[in-house]
Amino acid sequence: MADKSEIWLGTLSLMVLQTLATMGPQHGYGLAKRIEQISGDRLSLNYGTLYPALLKLEQEGAITSEWGVSDNNRRAKFYKLTRAGRKHLERQTREWQETTAIVDRFFSPSEEG
């Protein structure tokens, strides 16, 4: 199950959740732009990759969606974090930090030397 795309999907989901948590409800286009922006344009997202992640999160109940109107008066679908999603994000963040901390210790110059 855990092939490369699934892992990428997991990471992307985390970014989506975090973005929604900080910015509030957002539509797909806005989300993509925001993620690119935060990554300092080092990530280039096309919606083809973003969309499956949104679908998965929605199916899991972490986010809900609703049609609304964008800043430019365009009809757009807005995604919103749910309570379950917020909890999920907290847990995931914790895990992520732990993992990166451990991995960091492997790559940082040895301390005992």
């Binding site: 286009y29 096309n46 969309y51 679908l55 109940g61 757009a76």
Partner: protein
């Protein structure tokens, strides 16, 4: 948690359909719009803005597909699509579909029905707590012969009970019967009953539904008479009136206090038993201590944790001590044997049932082969469709899945119809097979449903796999090109079908042979000469019991009057009395000595089955007199020291002398025994069909000894339609004693029929299965050859155009079609030779390699396969060459 929720959402989406496809398209469009707006703002031209947005979107179709795959459950959707498609295809060829479904319905229905019977009769545990500790115990005649089990003498039983350690409880019972006089507008009736030691019910660990069980105080020679009723009798005769408890009923003229009613579900040992009375009240005092009178069935409950073998070994040792103590002065058994109670109850039908199951499985297998065959034929016709689908990118797996879905759909529909068949079949089986034990507990339950589902899926996969792989494999291109000048187009497919057919024919042959053997054995049984006539003979039982018949004169008076009146009824040719007619069982035997012979060694004992008869009984049944004479009117009451013997007794004990005038000493009237003069020798009559003759002796029934002469069978012979005499005779009996019930009004033919039910059942059923599979095989042959003919029409056209004669074409096609039949026949014959010895034990007087059966099977198969092949072959020979060539 999230995973489950996601799965649920996906399932819901799948079932709910594709309603949100539009939603997704809208969203993509909106994203595209917003992106285009941004690009415009960045100063691009409208065309360029849209183009860039589209590029960033990354292939609308791919995204759409990825989303579609993730949103629902593609395998589930695939299944739905396959199902819809399969159903549509099946509906398009209703003829094929109906045939295929019916074939599977028969196969599955028969299997489920048999499984149900086997499961509830043979496999499901008895309804008693810790039933695995219950055993039936028999005494053993001869330690060197393991199958010389015999029912138990009460004296042995009480000794066992006193000294053995392995059994928690040990109970004894036997059949008995009571006359219940007419009362409250109810007719007099004879009640089958059991008499048992007080602890029978506690040994089985059951408690009565009402009232109480017997206690040791009830089971005592001097105790007040008590009775326990079966629930059904209580319901039928007393309308379950609880006030009956503690009140009395009159049985054989005596008052018995009703102390309890057994639960409704309790049917042990036989549902015919209507009531129970305590053993010691019923069995005469001297018999209770006897080690010679083998009359009782013993049931034991093993102590928890005791090894069954160790327990019976101890018991056998105890019995051997008894045997040694008697030092051969009487017929004492040498040991004891035990078998599980369930085995004891159902042992008799085990083999017939398994034979039937084997036949049914064969039938199901043939049905699968047939379906497989039909599907291969269709897949051949759909080869181009498959090729096109492959060319368009359908994976092989999805094609196989599609084919499997089709065969599973057929099998599932077949199973649905089959379950109806199974319900009807099971009901028929249990109501018509009278000797089937535990028949009352047989019904389709969840186990049977699970079994049905299991074999359905198995059958579906079995039948679908072969055609699926044969259809989906192979070169796409050749399939697409084929048919242009297709001569012998799909040769491999045809050979696959022929191989399937060969298997089908081989199985059919095995079934036919088994059916033939069983049927022949059944005919042999029916044809057995009982040693008397069975034509137009009516029999009925009555039992003279109670105060009214406590003196010999009373019994003789009743019998004489009855015979006198019956003989004067119009239509009656002859009438007589006995205690048991030929073919109706062994009944019982007595030891005898021959005073004229030197004293036999003490360990040697001679037994003969005992019968009673009035002077006219033998001529009424046309039993052959070989020497001497029948009884006369003089041999009655005290003047009864005469005996008639059968040829088998003479053969064994008077091999070289004239038995007439010699004597038999038998303990008939008194425990001391008397000498009886032999006055006649009769031809052998069989006590039970299919069993060898045993020595037999007849005493005058008109001696009127209460007990010995009280069990009577009235035998009436007429010129025609003897059944119509039943009512007039019953009226005569009622006029003599309105309280006397009559039981078992049966013709001799019915009695013989009853004793051959097991074998007639197996034979008839296996024969019908064999007939069905023959039909299936013939249909298969016909189908394959017809298909072949259609395939080869152009070839045949060319042959004919080049001058082949119609006769040659006919024989060519005929041979082609017959080849699988012939190979199958040979295979089937070889298999039959190898396996028919497995059913040897259910055959009577028939060798497992009976030549007649084998030859008739060969002839039947050849005839029916020729008939099946002839039609398509003939059609081939009628082909118009011009038409055939033009139709390309």
């Amino acid at each position: 948690m999230g995973k489950i929720r996601r799965l649920w959402t996906r399932c819901r989406t799948t079932i709910g359909g594709h309603g949100s496809d539009q939603d997704f398209a809208d969203e993509l469009e909106s994203i595209l719009q917003m992106h285009t707006d941004d690009n415009l703002r960045a100063g691009m031209t409208p065309e360029e803005a849209r183009r860039q947005a589209l590029i960033r979107l990354g292939g609308v179709e791919q995204v759409r597909q990825a989303v579609r795959d993730r949103r629902g459950l593609p395998p589930l959707e695939g299944l739905g699509r396959d199902l819809r498609y399969a159903a549509r295809i099946l509906l398009r060829t209703p003829g094929f579909t109906v045939v295929a479904i019916l074939v599977m319905a028969i196969g599955i229905g028969a299997s489920v029905s048999l499984f149900t019977v086997i499961h509830s009769v043979l496999l499901s545990p008895l309804p008693f707590p810790h039933q695995d500790r219950l055993v039936a115990i028999y005494s053993q005649d001869d330690l060197s012969k393991p199958d010389s089990g015999n029912i138990v003498a009460p004296g042995d039983f009480y000794d066992w009970q006193n000294v053995s350690h392995g059994y928690e409880q040990m109970a004894i019972w036997r059949w008995t019967g009571f006359n219940m006089s007419a009362s409250d507008g109810q007719l007099p009736e004879f009640l089958n009953a059991g008499t048992c030691s007080w602890n029978l019910f506690s040994a089985l660990e059951i408690s009565p539904a009402l009232g109480r069980s017997f206690t040791p105080a009830d089971d005592n020679a001097g105790a007040a008479r008590t009775v326990m009723l079966s629930w059904r009798f209580f319901e039928r005769r007393f309308n379950h009136n609880p006030a009956l408890l503690g009140n009395t009923v009159r049985l054989n003229g005596q008052l018995y206090t009703v102390i309890g009613v057994l639960p409704d579900w309790f049917r042990y040992p036989n549902p015919k038993i209507q009531l129970w009375v305590p053993w010691q009240v019923e069995i005469p005092r001297e018999t209770q201590r006897s080690h010679y009178d083998h009359i009782g069935y013993v049931l034991g409950r093993l102590r928890a944790g005791v090894n069954a073998t160790a327990a019976i070994q101890e018991l056998s040792a105890v019995q051997h001590q008894i045997y040694l103590r008697f030092n051969g002065t009487g017929p004492v058994e040498q040991g004891a044997i035990a078998r599980a109670l369930l085995e004891d109850i159902v042992g008799e039908v085990k083999r017939p049932l398994y034979v039937l199951l084997a036949a049914v499985v064969c039938l199901l297998f043939i049905a699968c082969l047939n379906l497989s065959n039909l599907l291969v034929a269709r897949s051949a016709a759909r080869r181009r469709e498959m090729a096109i689908r492959t060319a368009l990118g359908s994976s092989r797996l999805s094609l196989v899945r599609q084919q499997l879905t089709e065969s599973l759909l057929i099998c599932l529909s077949g199973a649905t119809v089959g379950l109806l068949f199974a319900t009807a079949g099971t009901r028929w089986l249990t109501t018509h097979w009278e000797e089937l034990p535990r028949a009352y507990g047989v019904h389709l339950d969840s186990m049977a449903l699970a079994f049905a589902l299991g074999i359905t899926l198995l059958a579906g996969v079995l039948a679908g796999l072969l055609p699926a792989f044969s259809a989906s494999g192979g070169a796409v291109l050749s399939a697409l090109q084929e048919n242009s000048r297709g001569i012998g187009g799909s040769a491999s497919r045809t050979s696959l079908r022929k191989a399937l057919l060969t298997g089908e024919v081989a199985l059919t042959v095995v079934l036919l042979v088994a059916a033939g053997l069983l049927f022949r054995s059944f005919l042999r049984l029916r044809g057995v000469n009982l040693g008397c006539t069975t034509k137009n003979v009516l029999t009925m039982n009555y039992f003279l019991r109670g105060d009214k018949y406590s003196k010999p004169e009373q019994i003789v008076n009743f019998d004489t009057q009855l015979l006198e009146k019956v003989r004067h009824l119009p239509g009656v040719q002859a009438a007589g009395l006995t205690n048991v007619v030929p073919g109706d069982g062994y009944y019982g035997d007595h030891e005898f000595w021959i005073p004229e012979h030197p004293a036999q060694p003490p360990e040697e004992h001679h037994f003969a089955a005992y019968r009673t008869a009035d002077p006219d009984y033998f001529s009424a049944l046309k039993i052959l007199l070989i020497r001497g004479r029948f009884f006369s009117e003089n041999e009655r009451l005290g003047h009864d020291k005469y005996v008639i013997v059968n040829q088998e007794l003479v053969h064994q004990f008077f091999p070289a002398e004239d038995p007439i005038g010699k004597h038999l000493r038998v303990e008939w009237r008194t425990p001391q025994g008397e000498n009886y003069e032999i006055i006649g020798v009769l031809g052998n009559t069989s006590y039970q069909i299919g069993r060898p003759a045993r020595p037999m002796m007849w005493f005058p029934i008109l001696a009127g000894i209460p007990g010995n002469s009280a069990d009577s069978v009235l035998v009436v012979r007429s010129a025609k339609d003897v059944m119509s005499l039943a009512t007039p005779i019953q009226k005569v009996i009622a006029s003599l004693d309105p309280d006397l019930p009559v039981k078992n009004i049966l013709t001799m033919e019915q009695i013989v029929g009853e004793s051959t039910t097991n074998s007639s059942f197996t034979a008839t059923l296996v024969l019908s299965f064999a007939g069905l599979s023959l039909l299936l095989a013939a249909v298969g042959l016909y189908g394959v050859l017809s298909y072949l003919v259609t395939q080869r029409t152009p070839e045949i056209g060319i042959r004919m155009a080049l001058g082949a004669e119609r006769e040659r074409v006919l024989s060519l096609m005929l041979l082609d079609g017959m080849r699988p039949a012939l190979v199958g026949l040979a295979l089937g014959m070889a298999t039959s030779v190898a396996i028919t010895r497995l059913i040897r034990s259910v055959l009577y007087g028939t060798s497992p390699l009976d030549a007649t059966v084998f030859v008739s099977v060969i002839v039947t198969l050849l005839l029916s396969s020729t008939a099946a092949c002839l039609v398509p072959a003939w059609r081939a020979s009628r082909i118009d060459p011009m038409h055939a060539l033009r139709s390309e």
